[in-house]
Symmetry: C2
């Protein structure tokens, strides 16, 4: 029955995605545009953006393909659990890894196709009314939200069923161990999409702004700017493909972690075994109802509608989650191997609920710190009056401050989840936080669609009133994007903890003692990794932006008539350069993330690796949250001043705020979100390579201690 439930939900989710896609495609650009010329202009620009996005994706896939093949070989070669001599885990894990990667790629591809079709349709819908524009953008986002959830659930289920078939008689534990390769595959795609995409989007943005706005003095989204298409492509690459792959990874990883941990307790109970996957499925109807329940008819309602969708989905999820948990888990208390004794299904539900609630609270706190309707960001805006330096200082201080309560919330979630249901509880809390992913991702992908629609309205000269409507849609998207980032970081932290728990279970570690110098040293090394990774990604943006700046300057210099609007810029060149530079610059941080856990485990042993994972986790959470919120706050402080506060545009305060916004760009869109990948990818690699590390690891440590 549970298999049917999961299968049905996954298919329903894909059905929902198809439905929303149909509604997006039903909007006709030709008949919605004011004139055939406008329609032609719109379609031409939209095609350029779509072509650019696809160019990035296909180039990314090429690099990714090499990586997947090589890494699958490493997995196949290194992993073999000696306790099951009849099964060569590595080969199966490698296949699961490849399937996970392809599923994630597929989900990202679908999301990008619809987003780049939805942007132009949102623009023409906005001509009709604000509400129509809102609905089209939401529908485009929902394709990503539901497509991804459906593919994630179906992919994992398919892998599980195939493994059961080809490995008959093997314990669920072995099967789940292999299945975690699926999560690794998803996370590997996220490395490219989130880190590479993050570098791309900010290189294009900074390049377009610095040469276009500052040097040439032309407005944002002006078609004369050669980097304008790359900039619009970047919005999709970063916020659609990047965020999607990140959350796909989280869902796949936290579910795998829960099933690995639960495999021993529930080895003879398939319903309970697949419960983590089943409860993830609940988010699909909850999100569907949430999205359909709210519309924005006026400017004031846009932001409220987006938030209400999330609230309704959260509440539905909380209610339905209880009944499903009671239904699928054993009625009698069951043994999860905890010292505190058997666990009830209600306790597992509480762990799940703690994640769901704290995810919502973290999102809300992010809004509090980054929206200019509240005190903190207004203080940053005020501080701009005494100059750039104070704007930067206050923005950084706001970021640090904003990380305090989310860290405490995660701490509280850990205590509740573990005290209720041990390691299994941690994994369930991560699943709970990710429960509303379909709606969260819908809202998140809505942002770049609305943003792109604004760019299209500007570039195709659709007129000031349309641009105003798309601006309203975009502004609401900015706030929800900040919330989405908070949510992504929080869920990444819990996912990494869940993977850590599964890793510990796999290595059969009964304690990881802080008094062990290798563990303590591991914590310091983990902290160092967060620093190194942040420094690398920040410099990557700088270097990639430099390549863009040079190309834009070259075009302004060598293309006659470009500034006068009589000649066309070579947009594709800029797209190409941003693509190449971002993929090149992600190489070093990417290799560091992938090989550090394997090397540390091999050389210094499983306990030091555990320390490294936790050290990176603790530091990355505060780095990621503070970077995302500093960046979001600088962005909105600038917008607040542009709306007339603190003297408005053109004042020294505004100039200071613009600098803050530029500093915040790599913070909030590259380095901060990339840290999610750092902690999750290192944790899942540790989990997948646990048999290797457990049996062959610690060569230097052993020399040292004996």
């Amino acid at each position: 029955m549970v298999v049917e439930l999961i299968l049905g939900s996954g298919l329903a989710s894909l059905g929902a995605a198809a439905y929303f896609n149909m509604r997006v495609q039903a909007v006709s650009v030709e008949s919605g545009a004011a004139s055939p010329e406008e329609s032609e202009r719109l379609l031409k620009i939209a095609k350029a953006i779509r072509d650019g996005a696809m160019a990035f994706l296909f180039r990314e896939y090429k690099t990714l393909a090499v990586f997947i093949v090589v890494f699958a070989a490493v997995i196949g070669f290194l992993i073999d659990d000696p306790s099951t001599p009849d099964v060569r885990e590595g080969s199966y894990s490698a296949v699961a890894f490849i399937v996970g990667a392809i599923t994630s790629i597929l989900a990202g591809f679908i999301g990008m196709r619809t987003a780049t079709a939805g942007n132009v349709r949102t623009a023409v819908s906005a001509r009709e009314s604000l509400e129509k524009g809102f609905v089209t953008a939401i529908n485009a986002g929902a394709v990503m939200g539901f497509g991804l959830s459906g593919l994630a659930v179906l992919g994992m289920l398919a892998c599980y069923l195939c493994l059961e078939k080809v490995l008959p008689g093997q314990s669920p534990h072995t099967i789940m161990e292999i299945l975690s390769g699926f999560g690794l595959g998803g996370s590997s795609v996220a490395l490219f999409a989130r880190v590479g995409g993050g570098i791309y989007t900010k290189a294009a943005d900074v390049g377009a702004d610095l040469v276009g706005k500052v040097e040439a003095g032309i407005p944002e989204d002006d078609p004369r700017n050669p980097a304008v298409i790359a900039d619009n492509v970047g919005d999709n690459v970063g916020d659609v493909a990047g965020m999607g792959a990140d959350l796909f990874g989280s869902v796949a990883e936290s579910t795998c972690a829960a099933m690995v941990i639960g495999a021993i307790a529930f080895h003879d109970n398939p319903a309970a075994l697949l419960y983590p996957l089943a409860i993830s499925c609940l988010g699909i109807p909850a999100s569907f109802l949430g999205i359909l329940a709210f519309k924005a008819k006026s400017e004031e309602q846009v932001q409220g509608a987006l938030k209400n969708m999330l609230i309704l989905a959260t509440v539905l999820m909380a209610v339905m989650g209880y009944f499903l948990t009671v239904k699928l888990l054993p009625a009698e208390p069951f043994d999860l191997g905890l010292k505190t004794g058997p666990v009830t299904s209600t306790a597992v539900y509480l762990a799940f609920l703690s994640g769901l609630v704290s995810g919502y609270l973290i999102g809300w706190l992010t809004e509090y710190f980054t929206s200019h309707t509240y005190g903190p960001t207004r203080e940053v805006a005020e501080s701009s009056k005494t100059g750039t330096a104070t704007n930067i200082i206050y923005g950084l201080a706001l970021g640090y401050n904003s990380a305090v309560i989310p860290s405490l919330l995660i701490a509280a979630t850990v205590i509740i989840a573990v005290s209720q249901a041990g390691m299994y509880g941690i994994a369930l809390s991560a699943i709970g936080m990710l429960g509303t992913i379909s709606v969260a991702l819908t809202i998140d992908a809505y942002g770049p669609v609305a943003d792109n629609a604004g760019g299209l309205a500007e570039m195709a000269h659709m007129g000031a009133d349309i641009r105003r409507r798309t601006d309203v849609l975009d502004a609401a998207g900015n706030t929800t994007a900040a919330m989405g980032k908070g949510f992504a970081i929080g869920s990444a932290a819990l996912t990494a903890l869940a993977l850590f728990s599964a890793y510990v279970t796999q290595c059969e570690l009964t304690s990881i003692d802080l008094l062990d110098p290798w563990v303590m040293a591991g914590l310091m090394v983990g902290g160092a990794l967060t620093c190194a990774f942040s420094a690398m990604t920040m410099r990557s943006v700088g270097l990639a932006a430099l390549a863009m700046i040079e190309e834009v300057r070259r075009q302004f210099r060598t293309i006659p008539g470009l500034m006068e609007g009589t000649a066309e810029a070579e947009y594709a060149k800029c797209v190409d350069i941003a693509t190449a530079a971002s993929l090149r610059e992600m190489l070093r941080p990417g290799l560091m993330v992938v090989f550090t856990p394997i090397l540390v485990g091999w050389l210094f042993g499983e306990k030091m690796l555990a320390g490294v994972l936790i050290g990176a986790l603790v530091t990355a959470v505060i780095f990621a949250i503070s970077m995302a919120n500093s960046g979001g706050s600088w962005d909105n402080a600038k917008k607040y001043i542009e709306s007339g506060a603190c003297g408005g545009r053109g004042t020294e305060a505004h100039k200071a705020a613009v600098v803050g916004d530029t500093v915040g760009d790599p913070f909030k869109d590259t380095s901060g979100p990339a840290l999610n990948i750092l902690i999750k990818l290192m944790a899942i690699i540790s989990l997948v390579f646990a048999p290797f590390v457990h049996n062959m690891g610690g060569v230097i440590m052993k020399m040292f201690t004996h």
Copy 2:
């Protein structure tokens, strides 16, 4: 014999301080000045600076007195080890606490008196020759270096001997437990001197710069600027009193920690028991020889002379340390309670050496990242050419990057120290890193003396050639100040770890399991504390600077003839305001540091408190190093541009670099160094309150888990 050795070294250290003080006082301002008028001007300004510094100190002492009395009462009330019913530890600890606080105050007071006498004498010595100026500044610094070491050593010895006398027959363990109150006293003073002083110095600096340089357009150190005296006072308050109290705390704490840990193993061996104190004493002759060995005869030699002093002292310390260790520790392997078996004296020496060496390397790395003779800071300077935003981004990235290797060095030190000699090894590695404190502090206090001398030369119109010489002396001081900061952070980290080890020993914890949710949550809470503390101190500087800015503006507005130089500014008002604002603004962060460990231990238990200490440690180390180095690099990138690179003064690059420098001010001089106090003070409070936490702690946790 060992008592005599310690006593002799301590007295010799005070003798050295007196000798250096005599040499400073021997320089006559009257006969060294070019004219009686110049002499009068110099003495008048020097008196204003000294009066300002003393005003700050006395106001600080008043607040501190209240704190000491209240906190001594808390100690007396809460601490009582039930395993020794015949001794009320709290009362004795309270007395040790008060003695430690008073000793630290005394050391700081001596240092400040000499620094504020040395500044003007350095200025007139520099009139004679660069070498004379160098020697006078070094001598002034050395009074602080040797006075502090001597007082620290004698204070601890006196406490120990008194406790032995009044508690005859008690175990060394009980006596050392009480003695750790001495370290707590020293650290409490550091809270005020480092955090309050850090806020003071930057509020005065930013206030003087923003109104004087930017708004009124008058040069640095111009006597018309009402905040100029406060700014010069701030240099002494921050770098002499603040750094001194910080390092006094580290020495006292790491020695106490080592003796607490060693008390059980060496309960019947006074020589080995007092070995940690004795080996600290070795630094006194090593530093004395180092300082006397090198002079700077020309501009090129200044920086080299300072560095060579440190190198020679390090080498001497390494050699002498070996012989002392072999002499004092038992010749046969001894039992430190380690699972790995008995330990040899050579192993203890290796732990000591690892700290000594990694302290030197961390200092060197700091120089590499912050000096503009190397690549990293030059890259920050280059990045200023594309504007303020890139300058900030590159500076922040440099900071993160610079924290990587020091974290790895600390990790390596932990592994070496613990694998050689367990917890005792950690404490010895901290003592090793602090071994060269006399010379390190001499070099550090040399900086503000030379800086002040430059200010005096400017304000007293001594002429451009004298100013040039003081600038040379000052520039070398800036680099060594950066090294001193790296050293202070590294030693704070090891000291905090040593205190943590002693805390764990006191609570009789045999393991602190990362799989325990309370420990894991503690790590997250520790990370949150670092964030909260950083945010608070950064905002404190902003608020205190604002108070200064208003006062300076008021004086410019209301005092007729001030700008023309016919009327005198009310310097004392500015000093007053900075003093009051800094002490007010340090209240909240200070209370947080002091009460968090007690509250966490009481409510959530000793294991969560252990997690909090380590979480704060891991995050604070990378925050503190990256903040100090970002700030140092921005400062030197600006100086590099001012020396003619990247277009030189007046360009956009220079303006961008000035903004970076201002952002870096609270980073490197307030928030970064204040984090040293956060981790050390929380750790020593945990150690002193260990009996309370161990016996009465965890009230909420117990409700939760039962």
